[in-house]
C-alpha cells in the first residue's frame, strides 16, 4: 500500500488535552441534561410523544409565504438534490449558509430548525465517529496517528467526507421549514397535486396527518391507564408482553376507527375524492423566485466541480 502521504503523529499531551476537552464537554452536556430533566415537571408522567405542527407559522408573510406552493416545492425539491450532489466541503458550507439565510427570511423561529438538526444528530454522529477511522487509505492522504491507537489511523480524508455529509444533511434539513412550513399543510399538498402527484396519495397524507393526533391522544390515555395499574417499561418479558398487547389494541382500534371515519365521510357526500377549490393562478414572480433558486443550486454545483475546495 502506498503511504507516501503526510502522517501526523499527535503527541500524548495534545491527545490528553483533546481527551480532557471531550470529557469536559460530555460532562457539561450531562449536567445540562440533568438540570433540564429536573426542571421539567412531568418527566415521569408520560413519555414525550408530542408531535409538532408543521404549519404553525404559516401565516406570517415572507418571501417564502408569498410563493405559490407548487412552484416553491417544484424548485426547492430539485434544489435539494443539487445540494446532495455537492462534493467539496467549502461549497457544502456555502449551501448551509444559503439554507440558514432561507430559514431567517422565512420568519420561522430558529428553534424549529434546531429541532430538525437534533433529530438527525444521532445518525450523523455515527458517521463523524466511524468514517474517519474506517475509510480505506488513499494515496497521498493525510493520516493522524493518535497515541495508543496505532492500528487505527484517523483519516483526514474520511473526516472531510463525514463532515460534508453532516453539512449537506443540515443544509437540506434547514430548507424543509421554508419549503413545507410556510403554507398551511392542505395548501402545500395541493401544490404537490399540481406537480403531478396523484390526488389519492395527497388525500391519504392529509387523513393520516389528521389521525396521527387522534391516535397520539389514544396511546397517551392507554399508557396512562397501564401506569396506574403499576406498569413500568423495562427490558423484560412482562414489558414485551404488555407492549405487544398495547400495540395489538392500538391496531385493532385503528381498524375500527377506519370503518367509522369512512362512514362519516360517506354521510357527508364523499364519493371517492376530496372537494377542493382551485388555488390562485401562478404569477410571474413565483416563477422568477423558482428560477432564482434553481440557478443558485446549479451555480453551487458548477463551482463545486470546477473549483473544488477541500474535496475529500
Amino acid at each position: 500500500m502506498d503511504r507516501s502521504g503526510t502522517i501526523i503523529h499527535v503527541s500524548s499531551t495534545f491527545a490528553a488535552g483533546l481527551l480532557f476537552l471531550a470529557i469536559f464537554l460530555s460532562g457539561l452536556s450531562i449536567v445540562l441534561l440533568v438540570r433540564k430533566w429536573h426542571r421539567e415537571p412531568d418527566r415521569g408522567a408520560a413519555p414525550d410523544w408530542s408531535i409538532p405542527t408543521i404549519d404553525a407559522y404559516a401565516d406570517t408573510p415572507s418571501f417564502f409565504h408569498n410563493w405559490d406552493p407548487a412552484v416553491k416545492i417544484g424548485s426547492l425539491f430539485p434544489y435539494c438534490f443539487l445540494v446532495v450532489s455537492l462534493k467539496s466541503l467549502f461549497w457544502c458550507a456555502v449551501a448551509l449558509i444559503v439554507s440558514l439565510l432561507a430559514l431567517f427570511f422565512s420568519n420561522i423561529p430558529w428553534q424549529r430548525g434546531l429541532r430538525r438538526l437534533t433529530a438527525m444528530s444521532g445518525f450523523l454522529l455515527m458517521f463523524l465517529l466511524i468514517v474517519p477511522f474506517t475509510s480505506p487509505a488513499k494515496p497521498g492522504e493525510t493520516l493522524i496517528l493518535l497515541p495508543m491507537l496505532d492500528s487505527l489511523p484517523f483519516h483526514l480524508n474520511g473526516f472531510y467526507l463525514a463532515l460534508t455529509i453532516v453539512i449537506k444533511a443540515f443544509a437540506i434539513a434547514l430548507m424543509m421549514e421554508p419549503m413545507l412550513g410556510t403554507s398551511s399543510l392542505p395548501i402545500t399538498l395541493q401544490g404537490l397535486v399540481r406537480l403531478g402527484v396523484p390526488s389519492a396519495i395527497i388525500q391519504m397524507i392529509l387523513l393520516t396527518h389528521r389521525y396521527i393526533f387522534v391516535f397520539q391522544q389514544e396511546i397517551i390515555r392507554m399508557y396512562r391507564s397501564m401506569r396506574v395499574r403499576g406498569f413500568t417499561a423495562r427490558t423484560d418479558f412482562t414489558t414485551m408482553k404488555t407492549m405487544g398487547n398495547f400495540f395489538g389494541m392500538l391496531f385493532i382500534s385503528s381498524f375500527d376507527r377506519t370503518q367509522k371515519v369512512y362512514e362519516a365521510m360517506l354521510c357527508r357526500g364523499y364519493q371517492g375524492s376530496f372537494p377542493t377549490f382551485s388555488l390562485p393562478q401562478t404569477r410571474r414572480e413565483d416563477l422568477a423566485k423558482g428560477g432564482l433558486w434553481i440557478m443558485i443550486g446549479i451555480l453551487l454545483l458548477v463551482f463545486d466541480r470546477t473549483l473544488p475546495v477541500l474535496a475529500p
Binding site: P41, T53, F213, P275, T276
Partner: protein, 546 residues
C-alpha cells in the same frame, strides 16, 4: 310484543305529512352471525321528531345505519320518498340526511375546522361564496367561529362535538339523525345542543338514553328491543308508562332528585390543613380541623400547570379521610380529571401532598398506584388484555403478589362486579356496561384504599346504570366520583367538591350542594331544568296509574 299504534298522528286528524322513509320487514345479520334487526317495519314522515330508544345493543345504531344506506339491505325493503335505494339515489339522498355519530373525531377528518364544515357543502356542489357563508354561519351557531382555522386536535371534547354538529348542519339536511349527542357533555354544552335541536326545522331522529334530554325535543318514541320494534307511540305515552320503561331498561325514575329551596354556601377561602406546614398571615383562613383521624390523602395549596402553560389546577386544598364518599363536579375542562391525575401521581404539581401523613417524595409518588385505584372515563383506553382474567390479574401481578393471592383477588373482584364466569371472555367483544364493570374489577383487584371513578355512567343505558349503582354502593373503600349526574351524586356521595376554572370553589356536604341554586350562575351547571322535566313526567305517570 305490544300493539303498534303506528298512525298515531292520523287519529288526531292533523299534521299528516309526506312519507319520507318506509321500512318493511327489514332484517339484518352481521357477518359474525349476530342478528341485529328482525322484521322492522316503520314509517317516518316529514317533520317527525323521533326518539329512538332501547337498551344497549338493541339495534338502534344498526337501524340508523340503514337509513342512509351505509349498511346494505339484506332482507325486507327500504324506500326513501317512495324510491328504492339504487346507487344513483343513494348519493343524492346522503346529502339530504345528516348523521352525527358518537365520536366527534370520526367526523372531523380534515386539517382545519373550516375544511371540515365545508366538506359537505362542497360535495353538494355549492360555489365558493355559498360555502364560505354557510361555514361561517354554522360555526357561529355552535359558537366556534373564533376557532375556524384551528385543527380539530386543538379543541376540547365539547368543542369537537359542536364542530361535528356544525359540519352536519352545514349540509342543510332535511333529516337529522343523532347517535347519543350528549354523552360526556356537561349540562352547559348539553343546553347548546338542546337549543340547536329544538330550532331544527326538519325531521329529527335521536338515539339517547337520557329521556329527560329528549323530553322537550321529541314528540314520537320508537322503542327497540332485541332488534324488534316494541313500541311506536307518542313520547308522552312512553314516559308515562313506567312498566314499559322498566321492561326496556329505560326506567330513569329511579333517579328522582329534586332541588330544595334552602341553600348554604361555604366560603371557599376558609380551609384547614391537617398537617401543619405553613402559617397564613390571616387568622380565619385556617379553620380548625374537626376530625383528628389521619387523612389518606391531603393536598395543600397544590397547583399544576400543563407543559403548554395552561392551568390544570390552582391552589387546591383537599383532605380525603378514610371511608369518605366524595363527588367531584364541574363543567367540562374545570380541572376534575387533572385533579384526579395529580392524586394518582401522574402529574407532579407544586404544593404539599401528604399520603397517610407522609409528605410525598419521589419514591412514594411512584408507589401511589398501589394505594389509589382509577377507573377512567373510556373503557376502550384501559382494557388491553386478551381475556378478562388477565385484565383483572394485571394489577396484582404488577404488585408482585403470589399466584394464589392473584387467583383469589381476581375471583373476588370479578364476583364483586357480577362478572363471575367471564374469565375467558375477550374484553373487546363485551357490551359497554360489562366493559365498564370489568374496568372497575381491574382496579378493585389491587384493593386500593381510594377508588376514583371518572364519569362511570356515561353512555350506559339506565338498566346498566342501576346495576353499577348497586355495585358501587357495596364498595367499602373511600370513593371519589367525577360526574355530571345529579342522581349518582346524591346516591353515592356524602360530600361534594365543585370545581370551576381550575379551582375548588365549594367543598360541602352533598345535601348542601343539592340545595345550592347559585351554581348555575357560576359555571352553568344547570341541573334544575331536568328536575323540572322529571316532575312533569312523574305527574304523567301518576295520572296513568290513577
Amino acid at each position: 310484543m305490544h300493539q303498534i299504534n303506528s298512525n298515531y298522528r292520523d287519529d288526531s286528524g292533523q299534521k299528516v305529512q309526506e312519507l319520507l322513509f318506509k321500512l318493511d320487514g327489514l332484517s339484518f345479520t352481521y357477518p359474525d352471525g349476530k342478528t341485529a334487526l328482525r322484521e322492522i317495519s316503520l314509517a317516518i314522515r316529514r317533520g317527525d321528531r323521533i326518539a329512538l330508544v332501547g337498551k344497549n345493543g338493541s339495534g338502534k345504531s344498526t337501524l340508523v345505519r340503514h337509513l342512509n344506506g351505509i349498511l346494505p339491505l339484506q332482507s325486507g325493503s327500504l324506500h326513501y320518498q317512495g324510491k328504492a335505494l339504487t346507487p344513483g339515489i343513494l348519493a343524492a339522498m346522503r346529502l339530504n340526511i345528516g348523521i352525527l355519530f358518537q365520536d366527534p373525531d370520526n367526523h372531523l377528518f380534515c386539517n382545519s375546522l373550516y375544511e371540515d364544515v365545508a366538506f359537505g357543502p362542497m360535495n353538494k356542489g355549492l360555489n365558493r361564496d355559498q360555502v364560505d357563508q354557510l361555514v361561517k354561519s354554522c360555526l357561529d351557531d355552535v359558537g366556534l367561529l373564533h376557532l375556524m382555522y384551528k385543527p380539530a386536535h386543538q379543541l376540547s371534547y365539547g368543542q369537537k362535538k359542536r364542530a361535528a354538529l356544525a359540519a352536519i348542519l352545514a349540509m342543510q339536511p332535511e333529516v337529522l339523525i343523532l347517535d347519543e349527542p350528549t354523552a360526556n357533555l356537561d349540562p352547559k354544552q348539553e343546553q347548546i345542543f338542546k337549543k340547536l335541536l329544538s330550532a331544527f326545522q326538519g325531521t329529527l331522529i335521536i338515539i339517547d338514553h337520557d329521556l329527560l334530554f329528549l323530553y322537550d325535543i321529541c314528540d314520537r318514541a320508537v322503542v327497540l328491543a332485541e332488534g324488534r320494534i316494541h313500541h311506536d307511540y307518542s313520547f308522552q305515552e312512553l314516559v308515562s308508562q313506567q312498566h314499559a320503561l322498566r321492561e326496556h331498561g329505560l326506567d330513569f325514575t329511579f333517579r328522582f332528585s329534586c332541588c330544595g329551596k334552602d341553600h348554604h354556601h361555604l366560603s371557599a377561602s376558609s380551609h384547614h390543613h391537617h398537617h401543619p406546614t405553613h402559617d397564613h398571615g390571616t387568622n380565619d383562613s385556617h379553620a380548625t380541623a374537626a376530625d383528628k383521624t389521619t387523612p389518606i390523602l391531603e393536598l395543600q395549596h397544590f397547583s399544576y400547570q400543563y407543559p403548554d402553560k395552561t392551568a390544570g389546577i390552582i391552589d387546591v386544598n383537599l383532605i380525603v379521610r378514610p371511608g369518605e364518599a366524595i363527588a367531584l363536579v364541574g363543567e367540562n375542562g374545570a380541572g376534575k380529571s387533572t385533579l384526579a391525575a395529580c392524586l394518582l401521581g401522574l402529574h407532579r404539581g407544586e404544593g404539599f401532598f401528604f399520603s397517610r401523613g407522609r409528605q410525598l417524595d419521589q419514591g412514594l409518588r411512584r408507589s401511589l398506584w398501589k394505594q389509589i385505584g382509577m377507573v377512567f372515563q373510556n373503557s376502550a383506553d384501559q382494557l388491553f388484555c386478551p381475556s378478562c382474567w388477565e385484565e383483572v390479574a394485571f394489577g396484582p401481578q404488577q404488585m408482585g403478589l403470589s399466584t394464589n393471592e392473584v387467583e383469589l383477588r381476581v375471583a373476588e373482584a370479578l364476583h364483586n362486579v357480577r362478572l363471575t364466569g367471564y374469565e375467558k371472555r375477550v374484553p373487546l367483544n363485551m357490551s359497554g356496561g360489562e366493559r365498564k364493570r370489568l374496568a372497575i374489577a381491574a382496579a378493585l383487584s389491587m384493593q386500593p384504599e381510594v377508588l376514583i371513578l371518572d364519569e362511570p355512567t356515561a353512555s350506559l343505558d339506565p338498566q346498566s346504570q342501576e346495576l353499577l349503582l348497586d355495585i358501587l354502593n357495596h364498595l367499602a373503600m373511600t370513593r371519589i366520583l367525577i360526574t355530571h349526574d345529579m342522581f349518582f351524586i346524591r346516591e353515592l356521595s356524602r360530600r361534594t367538591l365543585v370545581m370551576h376554572q381550575s379551582r375548588i370553589i365549594c367543598d360541602y356536604p352533598t345535601s348542601s350542594f343539592l340545595a345550592d341554586t347559585h351554581l348555575q350562575g357560576i359555571n352553568g351547571l344547570d341541573y334544575t331544568y331536568k328536575n323540572h322535566c322529571l316532575e312533569q313526567i312523574m305527574d304523567l305517570q301518576d295520572q296513568n296509574r290513577g
